[in-house]
């Protein structure tokens, strides 16, 4: 048995981070509470509080309810479940532990992923009476995906089935087979009763047939996932350190292996090379900095190094801007392929889009299922693209350089987590052909600037009518135009798309790309689409230069549009014959800051068209002379 405040206080004691996961009611909190209690790391006032809480909220009658040690949030006590990952600390004579206790509730998968991302090992609990459940498969899958290779399966509540050896061995065999298929090479199945303390800290008399380690013994011998001392070192630059003109250092964390003074490093992304002149810390300069240390490095010569650069000693790391990646979706709002998100790789945040998933992974069978999108808690594989190349390593080689998070730029939520499998192409191969006939040359010939005029509004608002009038006026002025209209595009280019939210996003993404190409061609492109989502319109705007996008909000109250109902669609939607119809059962997000707002309840379509022309003059697309497009530069 361990002593109070047991050893492992030695500065050189090892550290193991592990997570516990399992379904609701499997007894995770009880198990951790028991580990803390048995390690005698609870103070008397905590024990007093536990005893009081056990009487008030407990489920064990007069006994201590260890789960209450861990379920700290009042809301959990009301619901009797763990709703968020909690971090706990304990120590034995051999080691220090950080435990991430993660909830088993389906909708809180994201918290489990959080705990798993920093863990060295995992303890998965199940209820011996129920055997392997979907949650067990799901958690094992996530654990494997996040690169954890050491798993203990705690077969809990064995006391409730009379410590049946046969049941335990059946569950163990099933689990080992499943885990092996995921590449989890080290599985320990342990018969446990958290409530009775069986095989938690020490091996128990109650299971004489079990010859393996107790759970705590297993944890004491599991291996931390440290960097290898012989691996090449990489410094991830977080901050450029310039106290004055005489010092320019790069502050960041050493990954992989040990960085030495005198090491030759390459600054990536990029081709520059230099030498580590000094490794600076407040405690003096170091000859070498091992993996995991946070230091400041001074390089020889003047180099272009910024936050997000990677200084690679030894072989360079890879650089790319398109990957195949495993994605875990974390947000209630499903992933929308083609939508513009942000992603953070190391110390760099870049624009990010994912294609439609190549497949989704069935967590129970490992089957690859077709998927148009990913919903909260789903795992899939997709091709992803980012705005600028980043230095990376495949995730299975390097957790730090192979992982990324996906953020929604509109609400700033963390919506996904990703792991890089491999690059789709080397960025070096991706160079735009330098063309001599460029946009400027076309502008000079056309006598007007190119522009996307983007009409957005409800069905029946009058977008097409106004766009058509605008095109006629422009044509009369000698401008080069093209009209893209929702209906005719959906018959051809987008005939494979329906009206689900994901398809609507893809529909607009394609239109945006086509418009951007037409702008390259020097045209004034008139786009008339409902385009209900702000994010997609922002994407379209982002594909062209400032001043080349004119958003026209054709504002019409829903009642007016329904009354007009030129195509009879509202009537159909109300009869339930059309689903996902904007304004009826699908949202419309009006622009917050369009170049032009039209109110079609006032005035004529011709007057509205003139207003659009006025806006184009203000943008400098057309000259201010009313008879010719005019030379604009």
């Amino acid at each position: 048995m361990t002593q109070p405040m047991a050893m492992a206080q030695g500065d050189h004691a090892g550290l193991l981070r592990f997570l516990t996961c399992g379904s609701v009611d499997d007894g995770k909190s009880t198990l951790i509470g028991r580990l803390l209690y048995e390690s005698r790391l609870l103070h008397t006032d905590q024990l007093d509080a536990l005893a009081a809480d056990s009487r008030r909220h407990g489920t064990r009658g007069a006994e201590l309810d260890f789960a209450l040690l861990v379920d700290g949030l009042a809301a959990e006590r009301e619901q009797g479940i763990t709703i968020d990952v909690a971090y706990r600390f304990f120590a034995t004579e051999r080691r220090r532990f950080i435990v991430a206790d993660t909830p088993g509730h389906e909708q809180y998968t994201r918290n489990m992923v959080t705990g798993a991302s920093t863990a060295d090992a995992a303890v998965i609990l199940l209820d011996a009476r129920k055997g392997l459940l979907d949650q067990t498969y799901r958690h094992t899958n996530l654990v494997a995906l996040l690169g954890i290779r050491q798993v203990a399966l705690a077969v809990n509540k064995l006391d409730l089935i009379g410590y049946s050896r046969e049941a335990f061995e059946r569950i163990s065999a099933q689990y080992r087979e499943f885990a092996a298929g995921l590449g989890i090479t080290e599985v320990a199945c342990i018969p446990v009763s958290a409530v009775e303390g069986t095989n938690v800290v020490a091996r128990s008399e109650r299971t004489p047939w079990y010859e393996g380690e107790s759970l705590l013994e297993w944890l004491e011998t599991a291996r931390p996932r440290d960097g290898s001392p012989t691996a090449p070192a990489r410094l991830l630059v977080q901050w450029v350190n310039r106290p004055d003109d005489t010092f320019r250092g790069f502050s960041g964390r050493v990954l992989g292996g040990t960085l030495h003074r005198g090491d030759r490093v390459r600054v990536q992304p990029g081709e520059q090379e230099s030498v580590v002149e000094r490794i600076v810390t407040m405690d003096g300069e170091l000859p070498a900095a091992p993996a995991g240390s946070s230091v400041t490095v001074v390089l020889a010569g003047e180099l272009d190094v910024s936050r997000g650069s990677v200084l690679a000693a030894g072989p360079p790391v890879e650089v790319a801007d398109a990957f195949r990646a495993h994605l875990v979706w974390l947000d209630e709002q499903e992933m929308l392929p083609g939508r513009r998100y942000l992603a953070k790789f190391g110390a760099r945040t870049v624009g990010f889009t994912a294609e439609r998933p190549r497949h989704r992974i069935d967590v129970r069978t490992q089957a690859e299922l077709p998927a148009r999108t990913l919903r909260a808690g789903e795992i899939g594989v997709a091709h992803v693209r980012i705005d600028e190349p980043v230095a990376y390593q495949p995730y299975h080689q390097d957790r730090d350089l192979g992982s990324f998070i996906v953020l929604d730029p509109l609400n700033n939520r963390t919506v996904g987590a990703g792991m890089i499998d491999f690059a789709l192409r080397r960025s070096a191969n991706l160079r735009w052909q330098a063309v001599t006939v460029d946009k400027q040359a076309r502008t000079a010939r056309n006598g007007h600037r190119p522009c996307v005029v983007w009409f957005t509004g409800l069905s029946g608002a009058g977008k097409s009518t106004i766009a058509d009038l605008v095109e006629r006026r422009l044509h009369g002025l000698g401008a080069h135009t093209f009209l893209l209209d929702g209906d005719n595009i959906r018959h051809g280019l987008n005939s494979d798309l329906g009206f689900t939210e994901a398809d609507r996003v893809e529909n607009i993404r394609r239109i945006a790309e086509v418009s951007a190409l037409m702008v390259q061609a020097g045209l004034i492109v008139l786009v008339s689409f409902i385009s209900p989502f702000r994010a997609e319109r922002a994407l379209a705007r982002g594909l062209v230069e400032p001043g080349e996008f004119c958003e026209v909000y054709v504002g019409t109250p829903l009642e007016t549009a329904q009354r007009r109902d030129p195509k009879g669609l509202y009537a159909k939607a109300r009869r339930g014959e059309l689903v996902n119809f904007t304004g009826i059962d699908s949202p419309y997000e009006p622009p917050t800051d369009p170049e032009l707002r039209l109110d079609t309840t006032q005035g004529t379509p011709e007057q509205a068209a003139e207003e659009v022309l006025g806006a184009l003059r203000e943008l400098g697309v057309l000259g201010t002379d009313r008879t010719t497009p005019g030379n604009t530069y």
Binding site: M5, L15, G72, Y87, D400
Partner: protein, 298 residues
């Protein structure tokens, strides 16, 4: 190989740098205690040879131990750092104190509201704090980068997932982030680090003869003449020290012989009570810390 403390240190430095690189107006909430002292030491290491690129903010209650205030001013002077002291004007106007108004109201007005005022007045968008996950049950659930709404609220049911070492620092207008570089440190780690790095701390942590009265089983030090004594209550000089520091009327002392950091570490190993036990505010009722956090308390 890095020792355990080296790893904790490197992780904390990493967090400091990440937060500063991605915020406009960071600030360090300096509460003068041992955790703040460690936090400040780590901040200096993170940016050396630059000075930490942010001011210190002390949200004062006018009821701190006198030795804390002296130590605070001396520390800012010694390290050449900007110190902002904020006292809630409403607290000053109404003379809010723990004796007449109770610990809950005292804490809410001076600390919770005071912090909100200071954050808004200085338009800080990121604040470093010394909270540790091992302190209290609701803190065990905290993220390292903890999002606060424009109303300063913390929603434990809707926290941002926090994976690997990739922190989401994006916020909208008026919103802010609290950052806790000591999240994974324990009380003992803090003491061992103070010992190893020889970090200066307020002398109240060391045992000395101090005038105390015993109330509801808690030893309260009579730090100045504002403390009302009950009929027949006479302060006794006893050899005591403090495991945690706050407002003197709300902070219990413990009998102790430990006059040096190694002696404190040795004492801790045999300790049977947790460090927040001397905090009168935590014991209002179970779950109170969680509620205070939701209201914007640190």
């Amino acid at each position: 190989m890095l020792s355990y403390l080296d790893r904790l240190e490197a992780d904390s430095i990493d967090i400091f740098r990440e937060a500063v690189a991605e915020s406009e107006r960071p600030v360090l909430l300096y509460s003068i205690g041992k955790d703040s002292s460690v936090l400040l030491h780590l901040a200096r290491k993170a940016f050396y040879p630059s000075l930490p690129p942010f001011p210190l903010l002390h949200v004062d209650t006018t009821w701190k131990f006198r030795e804390m205030i002296a130590f605070r001013d001396e520390t800012a002077r010694r390290l050449g750092l900007e110190l902002i002291v904020h006292r809630n004007p409403e607290g000053l106007a109404k003379g809010i104190n723990p004796f007449d108004h109770g610990s809950a109201r005292h804490t809410d007005l001076w600390k919770t509201q005071g912090l909100r005022q200071a954050m808004e007045h200085n338009r800080f968008d990121l604040a470093f704090g010394g909270a540790r996950r091992d302190e209290e049950a609701s803190r065990a659930k905290e993220r390292v980068f903890s999002f606060r709404t424009a109303q300063h609220r913390w929603d434990p049911k809707d926290q941002r997932p926090e994976l690997w070492r990739l922190y989401n620092t994006r916020i909208g207008p008026g919103e802010s982030i609290r950052v806790f570089p000591l999240s994974n440190w324990t009380e003992l780690d803090v003491w061992r680090y103070i010992e190893r790095e020889r970090i200066p701390i307020v002398p109240l942590y060391f045992a000395a003869e101090r005038p105390v009265v015993e109330r509801d089983g808690v030893l309260i030090m009579v730090d100045d003449d504002r403390m009302p004594l009950a009929e027949g209550e006479v302060p006794q000089r006893r050899l005591v020290r403090f495991r945690t520091l706050g407002c003197y009327p709300l902070t219990g002392a413990v009998p102790s012989q430990a006059r040096t950091v190694p002696e404190i570490v040795a004492e801790m190993r045999t300790a049977t009570t947790s460090e927040r036990q001397g905090r009168v505010i935590d014991r209002d009722q179970s779950g109170s810390m969680e509620r205070k956090k939701q209201e914007g308390y640190f």
